[in-house]
């Protein structure tokens, strides 16, 4: 082994440490969001069952589907099926892109139809917009960064420059983004359903 090459498992450990530290960031945001929601009896509940919750449920299933294709990408690279790996990575990227497109449509609806902005809303609880767009925006930024990461990964796998551990590490990141949404969906959306 050459001196500059990382020992096996180091990339995975590095990604785990990143994931764990980022988990603390999101858990802080979500706990503060929940505390604010319970502390304020006039907390806005803007999401109707249809399309609000239905839309968020579809977004959740799309993100879960992209996690499954990521699992299959890791399985394929372990069997040294590079072409198949790139195909599954492509499917994962498509799932992530669909999630972002749906999310942006939802944001447009909230901004233009429901008049909810990061600074104001019809309930005069500006904290709601600030925290809602802050939490979901930070998550969307992670998904967007994941799309760039997976695209670079797919290009590297097709050229033969990336190995099994690189794809596994990308998988860890993508599943982490999925795990975060598993808490954003119930705490931010389902706890704010119109009465």
């Amino acid at each position: 082994m050459s001196a500059h090459r990382n020992p096996p498992g180091l990339k995975t450990l590095g990604m785990w440490l990143f994931v764990l530290s980022d988990m603390l960031t999101f858990s802080t945001l979500l706990v503060v969001y929940s505390a604010l929601r319970f502390a304020n009896p006039a907390w806005p509940r803007p999401f109707s069952l249809n399309p609000g919750i239905l839309f968020a449920t579809i977004m959740t299933i799309v993100l879960l589907a992209s996690s499954l294709t990521m699992v299959w990408a890791v399985d394929a690279i372990k069997r040294d099926q590079r072409k198949r790996t790139v195909q599954w990575l492509g499917a994962t990227i498509l799932g992530g892109a669909a999630f972002i497109a749906l999310h942006l449509m939802e944001w447009c609806h909230l901004l233009t139809v429901e008049n909810i902005t990061p600074a104001s809303n019809p309930w005069n609880v500006p904290l709601f917009g600030a925290v809602f767009f802050g939490v979901t925006g930070l998550h969307m930024a992670h998904v967007a960064a994941g799309l760039v990461y997976l695209s670079v990964l797919a290009a590297g796998v097709s050229r033969g420059t990336f190995c099994v551990e690189d794809v596994e590490t990308g998988g860890l990141y993508w599943h982490f983004v999925d795990v975060v949404w598993m808490f954003v969906f119930p705490l931010v959306y389902l706890m704010a359903v119109k009465p």
Partner: protein
């Protein structure tokens, strides 16, 4: 893995179903947190291969879990207390 994914989708649909039923906020929060923790555990265990993770990584996982639960226990009751004082 398909079975795990179907289970995750089923839990998601059950969570969304809770929105259709008018449940008290505290009970709904407790149920949603339980279901979300189950989903996160399934993803971490099967998709992120935590079940085959090296034991030497365990302290980092435990520390983060402790910090997340600690945050929850420290901040959330304050929000509920502020709400009950109104």
């Amino acid at each position: 893995m398909i079975a795990v994914w179907l289970l995750l989708v089923a839990i998601t649909l059950a969570e969304a179903g809770l929105a259709w039923v008018h449940t008290a906020p505290a009970l709904m929060l407790a149920l949603l947190l339980l279901l979300s923790l189950a989903k996160a555990a399934l993803i971490a265990w099967y998709f992120m291969h935590l079940k085959s993770a090296r034991p030497k990584h365990l302290p980092a996982f435990l520390f983060t879990l402790f910090a997340c639960v600690g945050l929850l226990l420290a901040i959330l009751p304050e929000g509920i207390r502020a709400w009950s004082m109104r």
